[in-house]
């Protein structure tokens, strides 16, 4: 399991734009670098990130080899209703991780 850090406000007013910050530990090995033995290291990157808000896709991103290790993604969404945000990272070698966070929306 990769370590993750997710930061978003615990509560927000309806219609408010909220900032969401995610950080995940991942080597993002490009597939172009030689290792200590001179052999090229196989590629191992996260390919896709998505965020769902009560099941609805609100943000997604494709990631590529030029992205640094431990990718940090910051994005915004509109707080519509109380519920759960789920964050999914998918990548090479069947890497898949899902985390979630709750938000309370007040009128």
């Amino acid at each position: 399991m990769a370590r993750t850090l997710i930061k978003l406000p615990a509560t927000a007013r309806r219609g408010e734009v909220i900032e969401i910050r995610t950080l995940i530990s991942h080597p993002m090995e490009t597939g172009y670098r030689p290792g200590a033995d001179g052999q090229v290291l196989p590629r191992n990157i996260i390919r896709r990130f998505s965020c769902r808000y009560n099941g609805e896709l609100v943000f997604s991103a494709e990631l590529f080899p030029a992205i640094a290790a431990n990718p940090n993604l910051i994005f915004h969404t509109v707080a519509t209703e109380s519920g759960k945000l789920t964050f999914t990272w998918e990548g090479d070698n069947n890497f898949a991780q899902t985390e979630s966070a709750d938000i309370t929306v007040t009128a």
């Binding site: 370590r3 930061k7 950080l23 290790a69 431990n70 940090n72």
Partner: protein
């Protein structure tokens, strides 16, 4: 006249103190922002792991760091600011990572490999508890010979480039080495997340990095020579603000 002389001395020492700058002041604004904000600082991933490891028993004997030390936020406050410290059993100074391993071996589990994520995680979690406190290298007479050796090594030219640490970091700080600015080398932020490494690393890794930069023979990781250098750096940075886990370019 005499009064004037003392005032001048006081002013000069003040100026010298004011000139001590953390490596963070030499970084670009985006890297500084990364260090300032815990939700941007990748080192916090290691801290989080360290927090879990603090309470976890690794060998199934029910013993964890927390079972003796309790809450790290209280028990480990200011500890990292005091290392390296003299260890009576070893008869020489040891750094924080070596202290963690010594404690593990004595109390509960096998030693962690130097520079491993597991050790760096615990180190960074403990170092975080001293953030914002002044670096407080101990005044211990037993450390004196080691401190002197560390200082001598700092000033000794070495490697194919025939450079000493002091020539860059004391005499040419603020200038450039290639494209990067030479900092004053105050080790107040270790372990650090270094963007060049794309990972966490200890002060010893950084020292070995510099040694290979001047094409010198590397002291092995964990060697007394490196700890003596660490000790000298800790004394040199006395009173400066601890900022671990820092981000460096």
């Amino acid at each position: 006249m005499r009064v004037l002389f003392f005032m001048l001395c006081a002013l000069l020492s003040l100026a010298a103190a004011a000139q001590r700058l953390s490596g963070a002041t030499f970084m670009g604004p985006s890297t500084q922002a990364m260090q300032r904000d815990d939700s941007l600082n990748p080192a916090m991933l290691w801290v989080k792991e360290g927090e879990t490891a603090w309470r976890r028993s690794d060998e199934g004997n029910g013993k964890s760091c927390a079972s003796c030390h309790g809450d790290a936020e209280r028990a480990m406050r200011g500890v990292a600011a005091r290392y390296p410290a003299f260890d009576a059993q070893a008869g020489r100074p040891i750094n924080l990572g070596q202290r963690i391993n010594q404690c593990r071996v004595r109390q509960q589990a096998a030693a962690l490999a130097p520079e491993s994520d597991a050790l760096l995680s615990l180190e960074s979690y403990i170092a975080l508890q001293s953030r914002g406190m002044p670096a407080a290298a101990p005044d211990d007479a037993r450390l004196q010979p080691f401190l002197e050796r560390g200082q001598a090594r700092w000033q000794q030219r070495m490697g194919q480039l025939n450079l000493s640490c002091a020539q860059c970091h004391d005499q040419r700080w603020g200038q450039r080495l290639g494209s990067s600015i030479i900092p004053q080398a105050h080790a107040t932020g270790y372990p650090i997340y270094r963007l060049e490494w794309q990972a966490m690393g200890s002060l010893q890794r950084r020292l070995r990095n510099c040694l290979s930069g001047v094409r010198a023979a590397l002291y092995p990781a964990g060697s007394p020579e490196l700890v003596e250098l660490e000790l000298y750096l800790a004394h040199r940075a006395r009173g400066m603000e601890m900022e671990a886990p820092a981000v460096r370019p």
